[in-house]
Point group: C2
Chain length 191, copies 2
DNA sequence: TTTCAAGCATGCACGCTTGATTGTTTCTCC
DNA sequence: GGAGAAACAATCAAGCGTGCATGCTTGAAA
């Protein structure tokens, strides 16, 4: 899809994508109808249809948007004094926000939709790789030592699990306790 | 809902519930229409409607069914010689099967459906509690020691995260490596 | 055996979403 | 300033899922 020429168009397009992400996080995949997204974006359904002829077009773009935003939030989020505890906490936050909720909806929808799956899987592996690299760097981990790579991955997987637990109820208090304890264990392992 | 009088009825009802779980795991929440579930169960749509007048009735029963099945699979799954590695592996399996996939669909659907959420949350907390108790017992962990409780929870959360990663692609090889490494760490922590 | 209720099957109407078509406004470039 | 394209708005037909209403079949009790 070519880059639009008018500024107004770019704005509308951007608003549609952001609205799509918001809707994904709040009303889920099937709840995010074109009408709902358009209304949230403050544009008419016809306008949405102009930019994205089909619903599939809209959400393939939205999936890309979610992936890049998640990577961006990684890049800008490295704490100044990266103690292990702070890094672990940051990883926890990464799987607790709106973007994670939106991505979760996409994963689950993609699990039973081959078309969508082919869109989501490559982007998700890319995000996962970036997150891993970020974590290794932030933790100052030496991946050449056996087991270190797996423990870093375990940290990310645990954060994902905590994020999932945080989906239905506010699990932040428990998450903090678990992450704090994990940070101590992780620090000993990495030392 | 009263217990049906005829055996045939109980069988049909059971088949519908099992089909509902299968469909949840395979085609997702919105894909699991009454027609699809009924066809999979080998009964007509009318029969399904007789047992569960509305779709909501069907899936409220299915949610209960999933919860009890998950608890049952816990109870029957304790390894004979519970080394830490075996227990961790068993926990990993727990979040890799069909029941987990079905439950995942329910969680995500419940995230944007207040009605469903009220059904799912209490059952899920119960399953979580059972799983935690089972893990503590199987690991022989001493929860009176500070931090032990959190580490056990972290193990379960990590398994949940790994299960999520296993949703779109076959992640079993990576999971085995991560779990094996974590088992070693966990053993040292619990000692 | 008869009878009646439970179990089961079928068809229809309603609401919703999507994608296409057509008409209207706004911007850009000549 | 005007022509033409891009952006936006409104309406229509088609498909799908649900719920209801209506018959038919089976089994158990009198």
């Amino acid at each position: 899809m070519a880059e639009p020429r008018q500024d107004r168009s770019r704005v509308t397009r951007q608003r549609l994508l952001e609205a799509a992400v918001d809707c994904l996080a709040e009303v889920g995949w099937t709840g995010s109808t074109v009408s709902v997204v358009a209304e949230r974006a403050g544009v008419s359904r016809g306008a949405a249809q102009h930019h994205f002829p089909t619903r599939e077009d809209l959400f393939t773009a939205a999936i890309d948007y979610v992936a890049t935003e998640r990577v961006n939030s990684l890049r800008s989020g490295l704490p100044a004094a990266p103690t292990v505890a702070l890094v672990v906490e940051a990883i926890g936050e990464m799987y607790a926000g709106k973007l994670f909720k939106a991505a979760l909806q996409l994963w689950v929808a993609a699990a039973s939709d081959g078309q969508l799956r082919d869109q989501v899987v490559p982007l998700e592996t890319r995000v996962g790789r970036e997150a891993h690299r970020w974590a290794v760097e932030a933790l100052g981990a030496d991946e050449s030592r056996p087991g270190v790579r797996e423990v870093v991955q375990a940290t990310l997987d645990m954060a994902r699990g905590l994020g999932l637990a945080n989906l239905l109820t506010d699990d932040s208090k428990r998450r903090s306790r678990v992450l704090a304890e994990w940070a101590e264990v992780l620090e000993r392992v990495l030392a």
